[in-house]
Subunit: 206 residues, 2 copies
């Protein structure tokens, strides 16, 4: 009697390896040239197959995009969680905030293929794909909202500050880096330090 692996979705079979190669290639192109500007033929050629053969692995270009974006969001959350794990119990809002900024920036700048695709392709994401990822997005935004709420609880935030607007502002500040960032100028650590400092203390002396 054979022992079958009922959850073989992550099995290291040849088929799954190929599938992964396709997603990797797609992520690279979608991130660099854009979703609509990338023909499936280009992806197929890169992985060494014919366009039609992609449909053995995916049922549509949108599905491919959805997998790239979903993977990207998971990677971002993983990286941020990894950074957050370095904090000790009862860390101050300042420490927590800076750590989250560092994690997010590392995620979108160190391995941008997956993680920056959604930022660079914002307007190109098909509505159905956007809907499918909605829950993940809300969950990640809530993670940041919780950090800000921590600041409120610790009583360190300016009174009357619109916390939603604060969240959107730091998102914009960080996410825009996925457009201007070039390797080799500033380190990601430095960018994180400066951006966190600006948001915590502003750019003025004193």
């Amino acid at each position: 009697m054979m022992i079958t692996n009922k959850d073989n979705s992550k099995a290291d079979t040849k088929g799954n390896k190929t599938r992964q190669l396709i997603v990797d290639t797609a992520a690279k192109s979608f991130s660099k040239k854009g979703y609509l500007a990338t023909p499936l033929k280009e992806i197929a050629t890169s992985v060494g197959m014919k366009t039609g053969s992609l449909y053995y692995h995916f049922s549509s270009k949108e599905e491919l995009m959805e997998e790239v974006l979903a993977t990207g969001m998971i990677l971002i959350k993983q990286k941020v969680d990894e950074e957050m794990a370095t904090l000790n119990e009862g860390a101050s809002f300042q420490e927590v905030f800076k750590t989250a900024v560092r994690g997010h920036l590392k995620a979108i700048l160190q391995h941008p293929d997956y993680t920056s695709t959604s930022l660079r392709n914002y307007i190109q994401i098909p509505p159905s794909v956007r809907d499918a990822l909605h829950a993940k997005r809300v969950s990640y935004e809530q993670f940041w909202q919780d950090i800000i709420t921590l600041g409120e609880k610790q009583g360190v935030l300016r009174k009357g500050l619109d916390t939603r607007l604060l969240k959107l502002s730091i998102f914009g500040c960080m996410n825009w880096a996925s457009i201007w960032y070039k390797e080799g100028e500033k380190t990601i650590e430095e960018i994180a330090t400066v951006q966190a400092e600006i948001f915590l203390h502003g750019c003025l002396a004193e």
Copy 2:
């Protein structure tokens, strides 16, 4: 002897009105659906003509995009200059900065058709179009760099702060609003006030 208007490029002729209508329509679609996702046929139909007829006014889709983007950058600068004109001589860095933020946000949020096209389509902009607009972009970035330099001269900026990174951060913060902003929630004035305050003083109390 006829008096001819040698610079009739802005003349209010029927042809120029039509041309303007085409650009307006294109700006709307490019901003909302994206450059690549907008077929020329859609623009043509909206203005009541056939696709091929657009080529009486423009020689390519890229040229149309270039005009939309160039107009957008001019409109942004105009709006910002308009706000800056309300300042009196010798205004403090804080006042100047906040005023510039308000002007930029008004420009990209009040009439987003032209002004937000470049932000929402960043990755889709054809390289040749990007090159053609490079000088305008540099000039506008310099305007902001000059504001920050003013802060340095007045000695109010935190020592050692990377001014280029400060500029990129406020750009990201403001420009990202063109993605999340919906009319009717917060006024643009309120958003400008909060974002300027965050950048000047941070989100912490004291």
